[in-house]
Amino acid sequence: MAILDIFADERFRSLLLDYTQTAIIMAVLSFLLAFVLGNLIAAARVSPVPVLQRFAVAYTSIFRNTPLLVLAVLFWVGGGRAGWPFGRLTTAILVLGLYTGAYIAESLRSGINSVPPGQAEAARAIGLPFSGVVGTIVLPQAIRTVIPPLGNLWIANLKNSSVFLVIGINELTRAGRNIGQAINDFVSAFLAVAIVYLVLVYGSAQIIKLLERRLEIAR
């Protein structure tokens, strides 16, 4: 069976659509969670409170240096022994959000640090309060430099959602395995899935580029 036949087949098309939908839902919700978490952790990281700084460093270090698969199994299988209260999809979204949140915190921090210190100093010199310094001077400049790395993290997040087939989520990569088994042709099945991923990934990349151009600082 050729690759295009998979897309032509009613059964496989609806399976692909269904599993793609799950992957996208997982990616969107976990990214939203990661964004909120990332902001909190980054705020803790740049705050003048030493305890919060250390907590932020520990958080990013732990979640960036542990394999996602191990986190997924630790929470689902290990947590399952200790009264972990959530279902599969919720667990996947939570773990992926915790993981990507650490990366978002790091890029937000480097975005904030990329704003020249003179900007904040000038804002303080004209008497702006801390909220004014952050809200009207530093953040608007930082957000622009942070869009491309955040876009890349969105794509990485989408790709990482594939790992959660290990806890039994029916997502896109699993669709490849199921279709391959059904037609006994794994080559076509996985290439068909690869095409779906390519569309999602490079489609996202185009949107990010557009966004970037829109928000670019005119120099």
Binding site: V49, T66, V70, L74, N152, N160, T173, L198, V201
Partner: protein, 301 residues
């Protein structure tokens, strides 16, 4: 740590920081106390669930798994580094067809998640490779894991190489041409030696990411690496999954943290010796598209 936002605090600020410190400590302690109590009530701290990890045989079993993980990661990074270099040179070739084909290969392999290529190697390759080779892959998931990791990472490394080559001052190339070197020779003797040295931190950071991804072998039941050994250990112990994966996680963390640390160290050392010329280790995979975009901008395409 200095940041744009911090300045010397006055008495009021110092007082606020003290209050925030107390509140933060209270919240963090409360969270861990709550977590610890729940785990205690579930009986997760009982000695019998942990005693396995005080036993030499289990530790040796995990230690061998660690070696298996390192071996798989090293094999994959070497294969990926060599193939990636050829792809990067192909993308910078003067011949348009070579450039286009190499660009398509890079985009194809870098787009989908690495797990897809691991699955492809494990399930699809045995169906298309002739006889013995296919059988060998089907029978030994470790080979499939290394092939899958190599395929994905060669494309990622190709982008790192390309960014590194293009980040080099164009005067180097022009000078090589000016003394009469042909293209290939200039690349081999002048550009690559300098570019490769700059890329070492970025390649190391990618090795750390790749090492993380070796754990995906768990899904195709690779027996000999850390994750696979963890699975078997948890099966022996019947109910100590949480403890096993905690220990396995800590071992992975130490290994990957060490690699990232080394990459950062080399990066800062290079920054100092090269001025601003070094390559950003950053979030490795995450910053790659940025690196490539920078490279594109510099090459003016």
């Amino acid at each position: 740590m200095s940041s744009v936002l911090t300045e010397e605090l006055g008495p009021l600020g110092r007082k606020r920081v003290r209050i925030a410190t107390i509140v933060a400590i209270a919240v963090i302690v409360a969270f861990f106390a709550w977590l610890g109590r729940r785990l205690y009530l579930e009986g997760q701290f009982e000695g019998r669930l942990w005693e396995q990890f005080a036993d030499g045989d289990s530790l040796r079993f995990l230690g061998e798994g660690l070696l298996g993980t390192i071996r798989a990661a090293l094999m994959a990074i070497v294969i990926a580094a060599v193939l990636g270099l050829f792809l990067a040179l192909g993308r910078l070739s003067e011949l348009a067809p070579v450039r286009i084909v190499c660009g398509l290969i890079v985009d194809l392999f870098r787009g989908p998640p690495v797990l897809l290529w691991i699955f492809f190697s494990f399930f699809a390759l045995p169906q298309i490779l002739p006889g013995d080779l296919g059988v060998a892959i089907g029978r030994n998931p470790l080979i499939a894991l290394v092939i899958g990791l190599s395929a994905y990472n060669m494309a990622v490394l190709a982008e790192i190489y390309r960014a590194g080559i293009l980040s080099l001052d164009r005067g180097q190339r022009e000078a090589a041409f000016a003394v009469g070197m042909p293209r290939g020779m200039a690349m081999r003797l002048v550009i690559l030696p300098q570019a490769l040295r700059r890329m070492i931190p970025a390649i190391l950071a990618q090795l750390a990411t790749l090492t993380k991804d070796t754990s995906l072998g768990y899904i195709i039941s690779v027996p000999a690496d850390l994750a696979g050994r963890g699975r078997r250990l948890a099966q022996f112990g019947t109910t100590n999954d949480l403890q096993t994966w905690f220990v396995v996680g800590v071992v992975y963390f130490v290994l990957i943290w060490g690699l990232m640390r080394l990459a950062r160290l080399l990066e800062t050392r290079q920054r100092r010796s090269l001025g601003a010329g070094g390559m950003d280790v950053g979030g490795a995979e995450a910053d790659l598209a940025g690196l490539a975009a920078q490279a594109d901008a510099r090459s003016g395409t």
